[in-house]
Structures are given as structure tokens and as C-alpha cells.
């Protein structure tokens, strides 16, 4: 490891991080803030997902469950219980984490491809639950969720104020994932990804490590979902549907599995694409499918992965 590491960043990573922070700070004055907030929420969601697939090798195909449940709980807390935004977001995070603890505890009983199928099935179960549960509002979802006043004092009605909160939440989540990946705990996660039997033989209880990583990832997904529902004032079935699970896989794959900046780039590209193709209707699905196929066949490293390879650095 080089000496000049700061916060687990190598020098190129630190530069890239500072560039990203600068872009996050300047962007709302150039681009539409609501669009940017959407990107940041999805970027955080994708970072959470990448923590599992990129660093533990677990493909969780039902991640929308935690994202959507975080959105529902945060929205409900803000609207029905009058929680302030920070408390509502924390409630959403906890909801994602608790659901993740239950589902993860079940899913880590099987490995590889079965893990993916189990998380997908559990995600579908969560979807049906949200469809019928009284507090989610069924097909209507929870509407008119108030953004409220941060700490009970600062009004988040203006998009710029809300943007500042979203940016802080995103950077917090991003740094947390980065810190986890570069901690001793993260090293063990990577060992499990490379060779689980060997990690077991070295005396690590791999199941506990996988479960903790899974819970952290789900809590962060809940954080992203909760923040998103406050931004848009609405929490609906779209966010728990398995199509959303597919989308976060796409974002991460497109940006680069197992890179720190990949999911952010992937979220930006995917969200921008959806925005521009909004009139195209069902063609969006077709294009997403084609991108999936192309990424898997010819572009497995993703945008950031390829960039890092060209520059011979880690990103």
C-alpha cells in the first residue's frame, strides 16, 4: 500500500473523489436539481448494491425490496407520524437494514446462483406484501410526503436546500462503502469473493461476514430509497418492483463491478438515458436489455473499469 493514502484513498482515487465532490457541488447551478437528486439517490443505491456483488461476490437480485421499503417507511414516518426529514430517512435506513437482516439470514444458506434466485423470490414476496399492506397505499402508493424542516428548523421546500441534504447523504454513503471496502473487514469480504472455502479454512466464519455485509448494503439501499421518497414526495410500487432490482444491476454493471466510482457513473448514465428516452415507451426496456447483453459479452469491466485499465490506476 502506498504511503500517501488518505481515508483509504490512493492518490488517483483522491483526485477522482475531489473532482466528483466539485461536480456534485457545482452541478445544481448548471443542471436541473431534481434530476441530479434522482441520480444521487440511484448512485447511492448502486454503491450499496456494488458492495455485495463487487466485493463479496454476492448477486442480490431483489435489492429493490430494501430500496422501496426504505422509501415507504421514510415516507410514512414523515407523513403520518410527522417525523423530521433526518429522522424519517433514518427510519427508512433501519427498515432496509431490518428487512435485509431477515432476508439475508435466509438467503446466505445457499451459494452462487441459488443466492440470486432466493433474493429475487424474497424481493417478489416483499413486492406482494407492499401491494396488500395497508400502510403502503397499494396501487396509489404514499403521496404528498412532506419534505419538512431539517432538524425541525431548516425548510427543505426549495430544491437547492433539498439537494444539499441529498448530496451530504450520498457522500456519506459513498465514503462509508469505500471505508468498509478498505478496512480489514473489507479484506475478508474480498477473500470470501475470491475463494470462500479457503476463507473458511483460515478460520473466518464466512456466513457472519456475508450477513453483515448484506445488512449494511440493505440499510444503505433503504437510506437511498428513503431519501428519494422525500425528494419526490411519493413512494410507490415502482421502487419495490423487480424491474428496479434489474435497473440497479444494470447501473452497476455498466459503470463497472467492483470499482468505487463505477456505480455512480452507471447511475448517471442510466438515469440520463431514461430521461431522454422517456417518450420511447417500451423501447427503454429493449435498450436496457441490449445494454445488458453487450456489457456481459464485451464490456464486463464497465465504463470506469475500462478507464482505470487505460490509465493503469485503480478507481
Amino acid at each position: 500500500m502506498p504511503r500517501f493514502m488518505m481515508f483509504g484513498f490512493s492518490r488517483p482515487q483522491l483526485i477522482a473523489f475531489l473532482v466528483m465532490v466539485a461536480l456534485v457541488a457545482v452541478a445544481p447551478f448548471v443542471l436541473y436539481p431534481v434530476f441530479l437528486m434522482k441520480v444521487l439517490c440511484f448512485a447511492l443505491f448502486a454503491c450499496a448494491f456494488n458492495l455485495l456483488i463487487g466485493y463479496v461476490g454476492l448477486l442480490s437480485f431483489g435489492h429493490a425490496a430494501y430500496f422501496g421499503m426504505g422509501g415507504y417507511v421514510a415516507g410514512y414516518a414523515a407523513k403520518a407520524w410527522g417525523f423530521t426529514p433526518e429522522l424519517a430517512i433514518i427510519a427508512g435506513t433501519l427498515a432496509g437494514g431490518v428487512l435485509g437482516a431477515a432476508f439475508g439470514w435466509l438467503a446466505i444458506r445457499r451459494q452462487g446462483i441459488y443466492f440470486a434466485m432466493i433474493t429475487l423470490a424474497l424481493g417478489q414476496m416483499a413486492y406482494f406484501f407492499c401491494l396488500q399492506a395497508p400502510f403502503t397505499g397499494g396501487e396509489d402508493g404514499i403521496q404528498q410526503i412532506p419534505r419538512g424542516n431539517l432538524f425541525g428548523m431548516i425548510s427543505l421546500k426549495s430544491d437547492l436546500a433539498m439537494y444539499a441534504v441529498v448530496a451530504v447523504v450520498f457522500l456519506f454513503g459513498f465514503l462509508l462503502v469505500h471505508r468498509i471496502v478498505h478496512s480489514p473487514f473489507g479484506q475478508i469480504l474480498k477473500a470470501i469473493r475470491e475463494n470462500e472455502p479457503r476463507a473458511t479454512s483460515l478460520g473466518y466464519r464466512t456466513d457472519s461476514y456475508k450477513l453483515v455485509a448484506f445488512i449494511i448494503s440493505c440499510a444503505l439501499a433503504g437510506l437511498a430509497g428513503g431519501t428519494k421518497s422525500l425528494v419526490f414526495g411519493i413512494a410507490t410500487l415502482t421502487d419495490v418492483h423487480n424491474a428496479m432490482s434489474g435497473e440497479v444491476v444494470l447501473m452497476t454493471l455498466l459503470g463497472g463491478l467492483g470499482t468505487i466510482f463505477g456505480p455512480v457513473m452507471g447511475a448517471l448514465i442510466a438515469t440520463a438515458m431514461e430521461n431522454y428516452l422517456a417518450q420511447a415507451g417500451a423501447w427503454v426496456t429493449v435498450i436496457q436489455g441490449v445494454i445488458f447483453v453487450a456489457c456481459v459479452l464485451a464490456f464486463r469491466k464497465g465504463v470506469i473499469g475500462v478507464l482505470a485499465e487505460r490509465l493503469k490506476i485503480q478507481l
Binding site: 456483488i53 423470490a121 414476496m125 429493449v286 445488458f292 447483453v293 459479452l297
Partner: protein, 295 residues
Amino acid sequence: MFMILGYPAPLMFGQLLLGLINGAFFALLSLGLAVIFGMLNIVNFAHGALFMLGAFVAWGLLNFLGVNYWVALLLAPLIVGFFGVLLEKTLISRLYKLDHLYGLLLTFGLALVIEGLARNEFGSSGVPYPIPSQLQGAMNLGFMFMPIYRGWVVLASAIMCLITWLIIEKTSIGATLRAATENAPLVQAFGINVPRMITLTYAGGVALAAFAGVLAAPIYSVNPNMGANFIITVFAVVVIGGMGSILGSIVTGFGLGIIEGLTKVFYPQGSSVVIFVVMVIVLLVRPAGLFGKAA
């Protein structure tokens, strides 16, 4: 009218029959998934889309070429099977040296493409497919009226499952297939063309899905989403049964269909999740699946 456990018997048997029909589709689809997984080590996420494609091919054959149901039942699986050959040869075969997860992601992408194209062409509501004239009407079984077509679906699926089982377990082709599943390089060393066998296995599994699609066409409206909703439940079925055993897939498929049907009688709200609940219980009690070998 007599009652069972406080429920009218015709309602009970009616739901049981619907459950058996769903179970028949679970069995056919999970069977195909199991055969494909055994040989290709890929979970074919496109299976639901190809099931849907089978139904649309049957619809197209009827409406554009005037090909009737019975011929479509044979022709649609062949056409979709041929499509499967193309998919395997051009796309899937490039992934065998990679992690299994890439196979899942690729076929997921294929499913999005196929379903998206179908939605563009036909909209989400779908198109009707008539019940063939020979199978219209209902039969009085004494304890219930059974629509003949529904009985036929159960019968035809059961026969198809049996044929598949016989081919795999009792013929020399099946023996080679099982051997190649265990150890492909060794089988290849004996002079058997394993890559071609892999292609044909994929085509066969996909053809089973298309066969199920044609059977389903007159029951459900032929619509682009019919497979997407099904495939996730089928995955749960596969997790419950384990992909190790052919007979296991069939038994689990039919069994879970019946459980789902009965849930519709006793606790309708739970019918959409009952299979997932069963999956959770199986994971707790027997993590390797009912018929699975411990990993």
C-alpha cells in the same frame, strides 16, 4: 352440494384444478431450467420470455398462416427451440468459461429484449387465443364440472414431463446427457460432440417452455407479461425442489401448484406469496432443497 371443511366442494375442486394447471406449468418450466442448468451451468432467466414467445408463435401461426392448435403444439416448440439454438450459438456459448452469474445477467438482458419487443408490438393487454373446438365445453365428473381444456392441459403436461423423464433416464441419449452433466471433458474424450449436445440441450429446455406457452395460450390471454410474472415463482419452485433431480422438479412443480390452489380457497390474500413462504420454510428446514444434494 356437499362441503369439505366448511367450503363447497365444487369451489374446492375448481381451485384444485387451477392449482394443478399452474403446477403443470411450474413443472414444465422448472424441468427445462433444471436440464439447462445441469448441462450449461446457466440459470436461464429468459425462460419466462421464451414461454411467452411460444404462446405468441402459436397465435401468429393461427392468425397469419391459419395453422391450427394441434399443429402449433408441435411447431411452436420447434420454432422456439430453433431460436434457442441461435441464442446459444451466438451469445450464451461465449460465457461458459466465466462465472455463472454472467449467464444469469445475459439471459436476463435477453428476457428484457424479447419482452420489450413483444410489448412494443402487441401492447400490454395481449391478444386472445381460442380454445380448439375439440376441447371446448365441460365434463360432468359427478363432483364438479371440469372444463375439458383444463383437464387436457394437466394431462398433456404430465405426459410431456413423463416423456422427458423417460428420455433422460431410460435412453442412451439420456445416459450420455447425464454423463456429460457429470463430467463433460471425459464424455468428449469418448468422441461425443459435447458442444452440439449443449446446444441441443438448451434448445430442448427452451422447447419445453414454448410447449407450456402454447398450452397456456387459450387459458390466459396471450400477453407480453405472462412469462415475466411466472419466472420468479418458478425460480422459487426450483429453489424448493433443487435442480439436481428431474423427477424432483416434476413433483415439486405439481405439488406447489396444488398448494397455491388450496391457498386460494382457504386464505385468498396469501395465494400470491404462499410459494415464497414455502421456500422460506424449506430454506430453514432443508437448505439444500427437497431433492437437492448438499452443496
